[in-house]
Symmetry: C2
């Protein structure tokens, strides 16, 4: 079977391929789409998938993710993309200067939708801490700051280790999508 993934992000497409191929072939649709401003990543992903499925007249998948800093009541959460564009790693590091609690949660939400149907959601999470300085150049955004908690004995940042399959939060969401798709089309 084939899956239509809408994203401008090549790395994201690679991650989906890593977890889904060869059973499910990724058709990467590299177009811009409208995102609504909502309170949660779930709503953003759901509404985008619904709109794109109807517009493209085929089943689509979109992904929306964010990180939630404990020291700032889950900021930036659903605003991650906008906030990162404005603040960058420089601003995030300043926000955490002298802050003891550097724990952070990452969340990925995938919405799968067929034209005229309601979207199905699959989420994955991962905990970690924010580094004291940028490390590594892999990945994108604030990957050079995020030190995942699990499977990370050397306390590397995503920027130092990020290969498809090492990103647990998105991987977990993709695996849940995979189970769903394969159970429907075994």
């Amino acid at each position: 079977m084939e899956l239509n993934l809408v994203t401008r992000n090549k790395n994201k497409a690679e991650e989906f391929k890593h977890y889904l191929e060869p059973d499910i072939t990724i058709n990467h649709i590299d177009i811009e789409y409208r995102e609504i401003r909502a309170e949660t990543n779930e709503t953003v992903a759901k509404e985008a998938a619904r709109e794109l499925a109807n517009q493209l007249k085929k089943p689509v998948v979109v992904e929306d993710s964010g990180f939630f800093m404990d020291a700032y009541d889950g900021f930036p959460g659903v605003y991650t993309k906008t906030v990162f564009t404005k603040l960058g790693c420089r601003g995030l590091l300043k926000l955490l200067q002298g802050v003891e609690n550097r724990t952070v949660k990452y969340k990925s939400v995938i919405a799968y939708c067929e034209p005229g149907d309601i979207p199905h959601l699959f989420a994955g999470e991962e905990e970690g801490t924010m580094a004291e300085e940028e490390r590594g150049t892999l990945g994108w955004g604030e990957d050079s700051l995020f030190i995942p908690k699990e499977n990370n004995p050397e306390q590397k940042t995503y920027g130092e280790m990020r290969q498809p399959g090492e990103n647990l939060f998105r991987g977990r969401a993709i695996k849940r999508l995979r189970e769903y798709l394969l159970s429907r089309n075994p």
Copy 2:
């Protein structure tokens, strides 16, 4: 004439009274209303006014404002309320630690709408800088950090000086609203 101002904020109602009474009487409607997530304060105010006018079946005024830091490409702008709730003055001060350019612009947007009509917009702006530490307890939000540029020989923060009528950006927007209302109902 009477003007229906919808806001949860008592201070805001006082500012409107300061500029508009006795010519225009403020009817303060203290209810919660839905705000859409948009890219600009203009859109937020416009859509809220349109919805409230139709819902309450009378002409209404709402105000939406934000501050825009030059060092961070206008952050937090339209996200001011949400961001301030999460970061507080503590977070804003951290963001500006060691940052040379502390200039900031404040903007107020007022939307006036009659039921079934399109909203009319009135804006006011004011420039200033962000203080190195909180000063004063008047006003709300990050008022204790904002040092307005104009009419401020002692370089006070809004938190140290804020009385109705000393807040230029909102005052400017209210004066424009006033001119409009009086020209229609002289």
